[in-house]
Symmetry: C2
Subunit: 375 residues, 2 copies
């Protein structure tokens, strides 16, 4: 059996080139994980997700425990088989989404009781139940159960929330069932307060995890505060373990976080934007609903290998969106996942070549150009 | 250049095994044409449509003239290039849909003036404009412009409507620009009245078309009346030309029509049903929204080569539908198109083997079994 381990091949400043080995295969890092909330990366077949170069997808404990249910997925052979994804899967702990989606939440030391946003049925999550659900799903990477600190929060609120999460981290570690190739990540909290982030990082390192996530960012604090928090946090994390910045982000967020030593990312942005006519390109975002594209025979992005760019014109993509055809979200989602995977591939190559800072500057300059001029 | 021609390889009773050659390739008949209304077979990439064995798709003149516009598609290189379909395309004349979808229609001898159902803008269709639009789209098979006779209609109403369509057929033929590999089909009308159908068939044969369609059926008359109309009509059509039953139908309709000598079909049923959780199988239709599937690890249809059946359980398909995930319509549409193409392939094999009547009986017996029992 594969052991769960992180190999670091090269560094370039704080940026790291590496590989994470799991029970379902290896992940080249820095890596972006497409989000497969309800056991599907929305509007994509898993073969297509893999074709973009994505090696790992994320599943959401909160959604899956409610529908179709973790025990049901276990009976059906686990999440990999259920959704036909043979590569690694990371599941979140449910802590973040129970706070943002569930109704009538009641939080105490033990955990959270809440009502489903689907049907109002009552459910409970605790560190122990979150570990059990993620084991039933068959996650390669399990996330410790935490409370997502609201933003903004006073130092006292952020401290109380973080310390609860650290007590839950102890319980998560105790409840996690070790299996070869399966890892458990702790989550650094503490809001935008450096001293709390440091306290949280030390607490997690004392417990000991297979990887370390930075949580509670990209919640409204802005890129500058996010980068400052990373500057204060990442250097405290063990060099021999992977680092995951949760829920981030736009391409420039990812580039900046890679420069600061982050290895893993997830975000709904490429998939969600694909369903709202927004395409990510090296020259920034393009809104394909705009009438400027209606007669444009050029591809969305020259040189992109995705089917939206290989086989269709901007005029056609615009037509699909205006006609509310399902193929529109299908093609734009594929393009956006491809664009994110291409960014990660280019970042890995730049780190390997010792020129990641130059790459970041070039990427920012290209993005500042904006979309190609209309014909 | 390929000439537009029909080869007949074998007959079995009235059923015919053949091949239709067009500018964009050949079609094995009997053939089912998936409907690509707005320049996309809904929820499918064209590569996936082709992977089911489909060799030709249908485009709708009414929809495409309104959005994105026939002149625009022409400027962008034609419909094949616009929608990335390299095989043959048949376009309808717009006559049927202008009657069922447009607002404020005004019909006279010249044609129809109407308002778009999108934005109320005013448009005109006539035999000459329909031929022009279908030429701009680049159709391999162009349909004569006709009026779709309402159902029910009195003999006098059906006769008036049919005779108008026959005068329009003369004008369609005159306006059609001959090009190698491109064909024009006339449409037999006359409602459920055998004498009118015969009059219409004679009129069309006098004009001379590359193929003959039977129109105005599957509009509420029922399968028995439809088959009776085919029995009265098809024997009057030239044996050396393809015969197309428009807008039909369910699998049993197709089998019965093939037994009566029809070569080509189109229908929105497989694609539309794929978006409403209805799957076609050899044992009849299956509603995957039903909770009986929620724990069922079996494929939708054993032995089917489509990805929905190869890679997923009924439980997963049910989950996608309950979760309103786009992948649900994507997979079920693929399955349904595959099921229809498999039916056509089996019908062609049965005709070639001289056992199409036995095949039809076996298919009816299998369908009568109903879905596999729940676990």
């Amino acid at each position: 059996m594969t052991s769960f381990r992180y190999e670091r091949f090269a560094t370039d400043g704080a940026a790291r080139l590496g590989r994470l080995h799991t029970a379902h295969g290896a992940i080249d890092t820095p890596a972006f994980m497409p989000v497969g909330t309800a056991a599907t990366v929305k509007a994509m077949q898993p073969e297509s997700v893999a074709a973009t170069g994505a090696q790992i997808v994320l599943g959401n404990t909160y959604h899956l425990m409610l529908r179709p249910g973790a025990e049901r997925i276990d009976r059906l052979g686990g999440l990999h088989r259920f959704m036909n994804w043979s590569g690694p899967i990371l599941t979140d702990s449910g802590g973040f989404q129970v706070m943002s989606l569930a109704k009538l939440r009641k939080l105490d030391e033990n955990g959270v009781t809440f009502q489903s946003h689907h049907d109002g049925s009552s459910h409970h999550l605790s560190p122990e139940r979150s570990m059990e659900i993620q084991r039933l799903l068959g996650a390669d990477i399990t996330m410790a159960f935490d409370e997502c600190t609201p933003f903004p929060a006073t130092p006292a609120q952020a401290a109380d929330s973080m310390r609860l999460s650290m007590r839950w981290a102890v319980r998560s570690k105790a409840a996690f069932v070790e299996r070869p190739g399966h890892g458990l990540f702790g989550i650094v909290q503490g809001g935008i307060y450096s001293d709390l982030r440091a306290e949280s990082a030390r607490a997690l390192i004392d417990i000991g995890f297979d990887g370390y996530a930075v949580g509670g960012l990209a919640v409204g604090e802005g890129q500058e505060a996010m980068f400052a928090t990373l500057d204060a946090t990442v250097p405290l994390l063990p060099e021999d373990r992977p680092r995951y910045l949760m829920g981030v982000g736009r391409p420039s967020d990812i580039v900046g976080a890679v420069l600061r030593g982050i290895d893993m990312f997830d975000c709904v942005m490429p998939t969600r934007s694909g369903r709202t006519a927004q395409a990510f390109t090296r020259r920034g975002t393009v809104n394909l609903r705009n009438a400027r594209h209606q007669d444009d025979p050029r591809p969305l992005e020259e040189g992109c290998a995705c089917p939206a760019c290989r086989s269709y014109s901007r005029a056609y993509l615009h037509h699909l969106i205006r006609s509310e055809e399902i193929l529109g979200p299908m093609l734009l989602t594929w393009h956006n996942i491809q664009a994110y995977q291409d960014l990660m591939r280019d970042l890995r190559a730049a780190i390997g070549a010792g020129r990641v800072a130059a790459f970041a500057a070039e990427a920012a300059a290209r993005e500042a150009l904006g979309d190609i001029p209309a014909l």
